[in-house]
Amino acid sequence: MTRTRTPGISRRSTLALMGAGAMSVAAPWVARAQAKTIKIGMPTILSGRVAQLGTSSRNAVMLEVEKVNAAGGLAGRQIEMVIRDSKGQPQEAARVARELVNTDGCELVIDAEASSGAFAVHEVARDLGVFCIHTNSETSALTADPKQRIPNAFRTARQGVHDSIVGGSYAAAIAKAKGLKKWATCSPDYAYGRDTTAEFTLYLKRFAPEVEIISESWPKLFQPDYTEVVTKILQAKPQALYSCLWGGDLTSYIDQANIYAMFGQMEVFAVNMADYTALTVVKNLPKGIHSGNRYIKTFPTTPENAAWGDAYKAKFNEYPTNWSWENATAIMLMAEAAKKANSADGKKIAEVLKGLTIKCPFGADGTVTMRGDDHTLVGYAIGWGTTIPQEPYVPEVKAGDWKTIFELEAEWKKSKGYT
């Protein structure tokens, strides 16, 4: 399948005609005129604090759907996206998902919700038996826990445990090379912050047993002033700092820590730094912050990935986010599965999707695979690198090793009683 093409005039003009993402919602009559269309429902977060991520999900989906439709559609049927705002509330996400299937007649569902909403939509998919791809929830249990598993639901997002394994081993290698034994953590005080920090330190200590956590800070989510946290960390004098602060909290924290010259005094590992939403906002990005990749057009360093990032920017005038690639991958996988099954039927797509490997700009080796036994995406680009204050922001990303990830993931699953 030719997944990446340079943006040509004809496609651009088609896109302009269709008027970006609003088209599918705003113009249902177009769909009615074409008898063979297939409706795909998509609840996502289009208002509130993380609206930017929901919008970037919608953008990525529309970008890919245009390509699929131009190439003849999903097994010959033109796709019509029906995208609704869930406001980031789980009960609303479930209600919207149900309505999309029962009232709007959507035959397939893309669940572009954060973890809280994804588990709610998952129950709707279980109840209605509709084909569903979770595109944004990174909580490992969603697919790892056998109690959650249903034949009609899949996930094309990265997975928390994968990130922790790669981050932990990357940080441990640097800790050993530079003799960083005393660590501090500073993460937001809610489920994501606590879980992610615990998993990271688990694997950090596993790969570098001499590491010791000497200070922990848990600022509130959306806290305006981090002065007491910054001074506390400076007092503790750690050699390295881990943080999973994100978005505005992270940029605010960096600005405030900057004036205490914190970044010169310790190595900083901030998993959520290398996303364009944060990178383009921070004015004085310190050099040498270690970060996990979220979405960056220079990793993997392939022309396909760069072309995809540029095409997205050309169309929407901003860079894609972590949620963008996860949603684009969902459409790519569905299109390929429908082609193989020669059908747009959810059950048949689900059958083919199990274990399906496709060419993909976001793959570590140019391909990604929908793992058959737990319905989750593997083989996607995952790595850590250090930041510089201008493009490409993270010049060199050290790729995680999928063989190690698989081994440790299997072990982790066993320890949780999942296998």
């Binding site: 505005g248 605010s252 004036i259 205490y260 004015k283 004085n284």
Partner: protein, 273 residues
């Protein structure tokens, strides 16, 4: 110290106008956004601060004259509702003009220097500026209100508006001026905060809650109280995060409760006559 600037504006407005200005946080937010825009346009830090302060002063004046002046006689609930409505409206205005995603202004080059080491502690130069501005504001306000003619008129208006207006002084102008001054102080705090905090719609809310705690601890209507209250709160946060890292927020409220129980008017509040 930023908290002091926000809180002193709040306490001033309450002291003279007897209005609990729930929308005060919005002025802080506007100050930050005005400063960021001015800084991006001119590249001058001083102009950015000026834009933040002056812009919100004008906004405060308009807000008071057009809306707040109509509800002075009404009960507290009505005033609260009007203010809260404007919290939501101002947040949406910011969202429309500057967009929903967070922004950052960036630290001016002049302050991107190594922090000073004073008596074993780390002190960033920018924070010295903040402390200086806040102290200056405290001194000017303190002396201005107690010594100058305008200050005396303002205090008189707070005490007995009917008598003041009977003496031929335009109380409407005084009220508008005080509100503008309060708004300006919040805006200045927002402008000073812009280089070190991320700017989002709704950023004023958490600051508002804390500045309420400051005014309650210090005593409603007292400038010295706001200063001491802000300092106390800062110390509670710093020591709290060392001693009880999971209970710093709780400590702040606990302290407020202790003050309220032992001295309901606040540390420096005057007993109601």
């Amino acid at each position: 110290m930023l908290l002091f600037l926000v809180a002193v504006g709040l306490t001033l407005i309450f002291g003279v106008l007897k209005v609990v200005n729930f929308s005060h946080g919005a002025f802080y937010m506007f100050g930050a956004y005005f400063a960021m825009t001015a800084y991006q346009l001119t590249g001058s830090f001083a102009l950015a601060m000026l834009a933040g302060a002056a812009g919100t002063a004008v906004l405060g004046l308009i807000f008071e004259r057009v809306f707040m002046s109509r509800v002075y006689g009404a009960d507290v609930l009505m005033q609260l509702l009007v203010c809260y409505a404007f919290v939501l409206i101002f947040d949406d205005v910011v969202r429309i003009i500057w967009g929903p995603e967070f922004k950052a202004m960036g630290m001016p080059a002049a302050f991107q220097v190594m922090p000073l080491f004073i008596a074993g502690g780390v002190v960033p130069p920018y924070y010295l500026l903040l402390i200086g501005v806040a102290l200056l504001a405290a001194i000017v306000l303190g002396i201005g209100l107690s010594r100058s003619r305008i200050g005396k008129v303002i205090r008189a208006a707070a005490h007995n508006p009917g008598m003041v207006s009977a003496l031929g002084i335009n109380t409407g102008l005084i009220y508008g001026g005080v509100f503008a001054l309060g708004g300006m102080l919040a805006g200045l705090a927002g402008a000073l905060a812009a280089p070190v905090r991320s700017l989002t719609p709704g950023m004023g809310f958490s600051v508002l809650i804390e500045s309420f705690i400051v005014t309650v601890i210090g005593g409603m209507g007292s400038i010295l109280g706001a200063l001491i209250g802000a300092l106390l709160l800062g110390l509670i946060r710093s020591f709290g995060s060392l001693g009880f890292p999971l209970f710093t927020e709780g400590l702040m409220y606990l302290f407020m409760v202790i003050v309220l129980v032992s001295k309901p008017t606040g540390l420096f509040g005057k007993e109601a006559a």
